[in-house]
Amino acid sequence: MRRPTRPTGGPGYLDGVRAAAPIGVAALAFGVSFGVLARSAGMGRLAPVVMSLTTFAGSAQFAAASILAAGGGVAAAVAAAVLLNLRYGPMGLSAASTFEGPWWRRALTAQLVVDESWAIAQRDDGHIDRHLLVGAGLLLAVGWVGGTAVGALAGDLVADPASLGLDAAFPALFLALLAGQIKGRSRLLAAVGGALIALALMPVAGPGIPIIAASLACLIGARRP
């Protein structure tokens, strides 16, 4: 990923905004489709927007909404979303030292960590650039929340998501994010393990359970310190 620099030393917030612009278009489009999906899942107009604002994590929101829509229940929806978002623990940890100010400001800035902003903010020395993270995170948040509002409010005007192929866009998004996650053999094994566990449980377990069980495949990573 290109990292613009300023002559005065280090990137600024606007560099983060620029770096995130192409993915921001996707965030906007998927915000709209999340709004439409959530609305059709019976979540109403306001709840999807509140969720995008507070959770701000696409895959977890899609997972929770689709589990609710499939009748999987609150516990399975929350558990799957929380498990999906557990990755923000280590991500937030790796970014912890870049945040500044009082506790509430650091906690607030940490909310801008999503897969894409975190990836864009990676520096070559293994540290996170706060300006890139904040600039990228803010742009993605505006696209995601704004898109959700459009989708949730105009859902009635939009055709059936399936006829637009939107249901195929979800696995495509997860596949694209997965492709970026596979660095090295053990992560590939974790992905294969997760897929196999899900495939094995799908015929016998209710919605959400295969996804929760698949998280155990991450233990592949603990084999060697």
Partner: protein
């Protein structure tokens, strides 16, 4: 409707807490290496499971082979050709929509 708001509140509060935990609780201390290594493998494991369940899952349980699979295959080709994310997603949706329109 109540179930929806309970889900939104629980997921929102949990996610905000998870994102803030690093900087609030742990600061610049490090996790045990094995725990860190396991958590770094959570994303590929869960994303792979989501690809499988979202592309092949039936409404309740079991499998349903439909236009989503054609869309996913088109997305995989686009990814192999190093297409940007937006294009990958568009290709998948367009392919599935086309398959449904022709079916």
């Amino acid at each position: 409707m109540t179930a929806v708001w309970v889900t939104v509140a629980a997921v929102g509060l949990a996610t905000m807490a998870i994102k803030a935990a690093g900087t609030l609780l742990i600061g610049d201390r490090k996790l045990p290496p094995r725990a860190q290594a396991a958590l770094e493998h959570l994303a590929p494991a869960l994303l792979a499971a989501l690809v499988v369940t979202q592309a092949l899952g039936a409404a309740d349980r079991g499998f349903a082979i439909d236009a989503r699979l054609a869309g996913l295959a088109a997305a995989a080709v686009a990814l192999l050709l190093r297409a940007p994310l937006l294009l990958v997603i568009t290709v998948a949706a367009a392919t599935a929509a086309l398959v449904r329109a022709l079916a």
